[in-house]
């Protein structure tokens, strides 16, 4: 992506409780946006403030508990067990022992980690690692959750069940390269094109126009047809 402007003067707001799907062209823009928001990548300028807290707030009740992020890669050591990962996530979030156990048990049950609880994650492969990563992110009951093309190693049905994130006041932002797989998980959709937001609309607008939740459907809603697209590319050359 060297030399390609992925994000440029972007303006996007999501209300409390919103479930936003972001798709982008080029593909990496949506992921980069989420990583900037989660504090993993840097923007050229500006600052990030989410749910009333800034990235600099590393207190126990600050960023660590209120913001969650799950990436395409689990980022967990293979020798750790799901129980150890959840214990560590609880410790880093500053919960006391009793609270850690309560939250850990609840996450184990919801994400069906019980049978693998004390087995090294590497034995369960990428799917177990990704489910554990999601469980760890949900351990703190975050107000804002970023999902960067998550759980791709989990089978489709199970993935949809796991990503049906509960909580009416929880804001979920999901970046996906395969929007058709996110049906039923989101209620609004945004399209980034050449770094800017060209569409931000409720999913029901797609339904009203008889369009599907797919890249083609979203682009059609944004008024971008394939013919226009190829014309623009030729013009750009």
């Amino acid at each position: 992506m060297r030399g390609v402007r992925l994000l440029d003067d972007l303006d996007l707001s999501v209300g409390v409780g919103g479930r936003l799907l972001i798709v982008s062209r080029p593909e990496g823009s949506a992921s980069l946006l989420l990583r900037i928001l989660a504090g993993l990548a840097h923007a050229d300028h500006g600052s990030v403030r989410l749910a009333g807290v800034s990235r600099a707030d590393d207190s126990a009740a600050g960023w660590a508990r209120r913001i969650g992020y799950v990436g395409a890669s689990a980022g967990i050591y293979g020798w750790m067990t799901p129980a150890e990962v959840l214990e560590l996530a609880g410790r880093l979030a500053g919960y006391d022992r009793a609270d850690r156990h309560r939250r850990s048990d609840a996450a184990m049950e919801r994400y069906r980690l019980g049978s693998s609880r004390d087995a090294p994650i590497r034995r369960g492969g990428a799917a177990l690692a990704q489910r554990t990563a999601l469980a760890a992110a949900m351990l703190t009951d975050p107000e804002v959750l970023f999902l960067d093309d998550p759980l791709r190693s989990v089978d489709a049905e199970e993935r949809s069940r796991l990503l049906a994130i509960p909580g009416k006041r929880r804001t979920v932002v999901l970046a996906s390269a395969f929007p058709a797989t996110e049906v039923g998980l989101v209620n609004q959709v945004a399209l980034l094109r050449d770094g800017s937001v060209v569409l931000h609309a409720p999913v029901r607008e797609l339904d009203a126009r008889g369009l599907t939740l797919s890249l083609r459907g979203i682009e059609a809603l944004a008024g971008i047809s394939e013919a226009n697209d190829s014309h623009a590319r030729v013009a750009a050359r």
Partner: protein, 239 residues
């Protein structure tokens, strides 16, 4: 503090299960033990000074390899997302780096101390009268501080956006180069890596303990500065 302990525990476990911890510990020790295998006519000087010189030369290799391990480890941690996993939990990147440095540096220092003890025991075996161990102990402390300087430099390389293999080769070359120059060029000033030069040229120093203290001091200042640079480098990196 609890958080730092948790991170250090993770780093130690990760190093342990991959045998890197053992490598960092045993390399300097093997260097110390190998001193005994050097024929007396090659060892030169008096027994302890000769042993110290060969031990210093072996440290160039073992600390250089340690630096390569540090860089590769940090680069791999960044690549596979474990640092990102910590960062989204509001763990400062500097805390992750510091935890890794404490573990790697601590293990390496213990290995250097054990290696020096092995070299000392080998050297005094042939002597009728046991000499004062003070200069060797002081020089070893200064050499360990010099090793920490190289490891802190490796933390910077590991924080750069480089593949682990490239980072490790770069650190190996830089580490061995810097340490070898300290051994070859006699100590003229209290440089951060001067401790290793002092260890290699113990017989030439008229005030080894004072020189060692000076070198240790400058080395620790250099470590602090290099760690700060490593923190800034990782802070500016995308995870």
């Amino acid at each position: 503090m609890n958080r730092l302990l948790a991170l250090a525990g993770l780093a130690a476990h990760e190093l342990w299960i991959s045998y890197r911890l053992l490598l960092l510990l045993t390399l300097p020790l093997l260097g110390g033990l190998a001193v005994g295998a050097i024929p007396a006519e090659l060892a030169g000087l008096r027994a302890v000074d000769g042993a110290a010189r060969w031990y210093a030369i072996s440290l160039c290799a073992s600390v250089g390899i340690g630096a390569a391990v540090v860089s590769a480890t940090l680069a791999a941690e960044r690549r596979r997302g474990t640092i990102a996993w910590m960062a989204v939990r509001a763990v400062p990147r500097s805390a992750v780096q510091l935890a890794w440095f404490v573990v790697v540096g601590g293990v390496m220092v213990v290995g250097i101390a054990l290696g020096a003890a092995a070299a000392w025991l080998t050297a005094i075996e042939q002597l009728a009268e046991i000499p004062d161990a003070g200069p060797l102990v002081a020089a070893t402390v200064a050499a360990a501080a010099a090793a920490l300087v190289v490891l802190a430099g490796a933390m910077i390389v590991g924080a750069l956006p480089l593949p682990p293999a490239v980072a490790s080769v770069l650190s190996l070359l830089l580490g061995v180069g810097i340490l070898a120059s300290a051994v070859v060029v006699p100590l003229t000033a209290p440089l951060p890596t001067g401790g290793l030069g002092l260890l290699a040229n113990l017989s030439r120093s008229t005030r080894p303990i004072a020189d060692a203290l000076q070198s240790t001091g400058t080395a620790l200042v250099a470590v602090a500065f290099l760690l700060l640079l490593a923190v800034v480098t990782l802070d500016r990196a995308d995870l």
